[in-house]
Structure formats: structure tokens, C-alpha cells
Symmetry: C2
Subunit: 150 residues, 2 copies
């Protein structure tokens, strides 16, 4: 069992722009792959039994991943806050607590927080025997701000 | 995108014995496979792209699954509350918000809430091409209550 220490936020501290933590914040994502502050903690490491990686990312307001692809796709489960997910060629989606989105294998996408409110999201990478991730270019301001731009 | 309606619990309503919901409660698990009230909602349905099922179970205080096995194992992510997980032949584990536990392929286990506090847990079933679940006998009172009984 991975017994993880908890970050607690009392009700009085939980302002509009804060999101509640289930997991520790983890390590800051590298500037090569993220814009702004995104914090990653691994929950299930890769192995040959499950071939599945699970982790949590907390995107501070305005933070995003770069564009990237996953060889076997990715499942995102939003556990708190508000953010965006965009699959290349599709409009930007707004994603909120309780939403689940998928990105198919080898399709470009990015995800991140809204400008005003951070986002907690778990990620599931299936079929890790196919590989994990290929990082690409940063999301432009135009891409971030334009909900209808494909 | 699976846009899921939210169950909200205000701070003032959130007593010691209640747990916060990220997802809708879903459907009550059948009495053939569960003791007490356990509520299941599917978040990611089975398909041949991801071969991964994700869902959420809310176990009311005292509720448990029967013993069961998964052909490709299972990953459990506890998002709120307090409960138990027992792998056959090992002591009962107490699991809490932020914990992640795994059960290997074809190994018997059960999971459920503590007597006093419910438990919210996400489950991930990988490699669904191998099958999903085989249900077995209910957990006995002795098994439920005895932390050291293997």
C-alpha cells in the first residue's frame, strides 16, 4: 500500500480560486514540458503486471501542459477545480470536477487549468508496454484563450 | 467528454461520518455481490482502444464487497473516507483518503467501508481483454472485524 500523507485545506481556507487536495502536491513539472506551475505525483508506477500508470497533476491557475501524444492514449479524471482539454483539430473543452475525458492513441492534446481556478486531475496511462508520452511544443496564448479555435 | 452532474456537500453538512462526492452516487450494487449499501458509477466503459475500465464506488459505513478476483488485477484509489482492503492470506489493511492499493491478477480480495465512516474509491481495471471480475462468497463478520486474521 502506498500510504500517502495528506494535504488538508479547511473550509475557511477554501476560497473560490483554490482546489482541494487528495494527494500530496509532488514535484513541479519541468519548464520544458509545462507553462506555469504544474505539480505531479505518481500514484501507480509502471510495471509488467498492470502495464498502467496512475498519477495526479495539480495545475495552478493558468498552468498548462505542452502539446503531447501518448502511444496508447490517456484517461483524465477531474477531481476538483476547472480547466481545459484540447484534442488537436477539435475545439477547446472546459473540464470540471467530476468530468472524465479521453485522448486516443497518438493524438495530440494539451490540458491545464483555467486562468482563475486551478485544477486537480488524475491521469491513467493504459498499455504502457506501447510507451508513455512524446512531448511537443508549448500551447500558444491564442490556443489557450480561444475556445473555438481548432 | 462524460459531463457528469455533481453531488455537492457543504462544509456545514460534512460531519465526521460523511464523505465528499466527486461523482454522482450511481446505482446500488446487487445484494448478491455486496453486503450493505455500495453505490457504483461507471466513468470509463470498456472498449478495445484503452482496454481499461474506471469507475467509482461509494461504500456506506459497514458496506463491503464480497470476496472476488480480477483476471488482470485491480487498482483502487481512495478519494475520501476510511475503509478496509484485504488480500486473501494477508491481514486486513485500513485504507484512507489518498491511499492507493493494488490487487494482483487472480488473487482474492474484498474492500469496503469502516463501520463508522463511509469510503469513496475509484477503481481501475486494466487489460480488460482478459476479463473483468469473478464474484465469490460474502465477507464474514469475523473477517470484517478482525484486522489480524488472515
Amino acid at each position: 500500500m502506498a500510504s500517502l500523507a495528506l494535504l488538508t485545506t479547511s473550509c475557511t481556507e477554501n476560497s473560490k480560486n483554490e482546489v482541494k487536495a487528495i494527494f500530496p502536491k509532488g514535484e513541479k513539472g519541468p519548464a520544458d514540458n509545462f507553462t506555469g506551475s504544474a505539480w505531479n505525483i505518481g500514484l501507480v508506477a509502471n510495471d509488467t503486471t498492470y502495464n498502467t500508470i496512475v498519477g495526479n497533476v495539480y495545475f495552478e491557475p493558468g498552468a498548462t501542459s505542452n502539446w503531447h501524444t501518448h502511444p496508447a492514449g490517456q484517461i483524465l479524471v477531474i477531481t476538483d477545480g476547472v480547466g481545459y482539454h484540447q484534442i488537436k483539430g477539435q475545439p477547446r473543452q472546459t473540464i470540471r470536477k467530476g468530468d472524465v475525458v479521453k485522448c486516443p492513441p497518438n493524438v495530440m492534446h494539451w490540458h491545464g487549468a483555467s486562468a482563475d481556478t486551478g485544477m486537480q486531475q488524475m491521469y491513467v496511462l493504459p498499455k504502457t508496454e506501447k510507451g508513455l508520452v512524446t512531448w511537443l511544443q508549448p500551447v500558444t496564448d491564442e490556443e489557450y484563450n480561444n475556445a473555438t479555435n481548432k
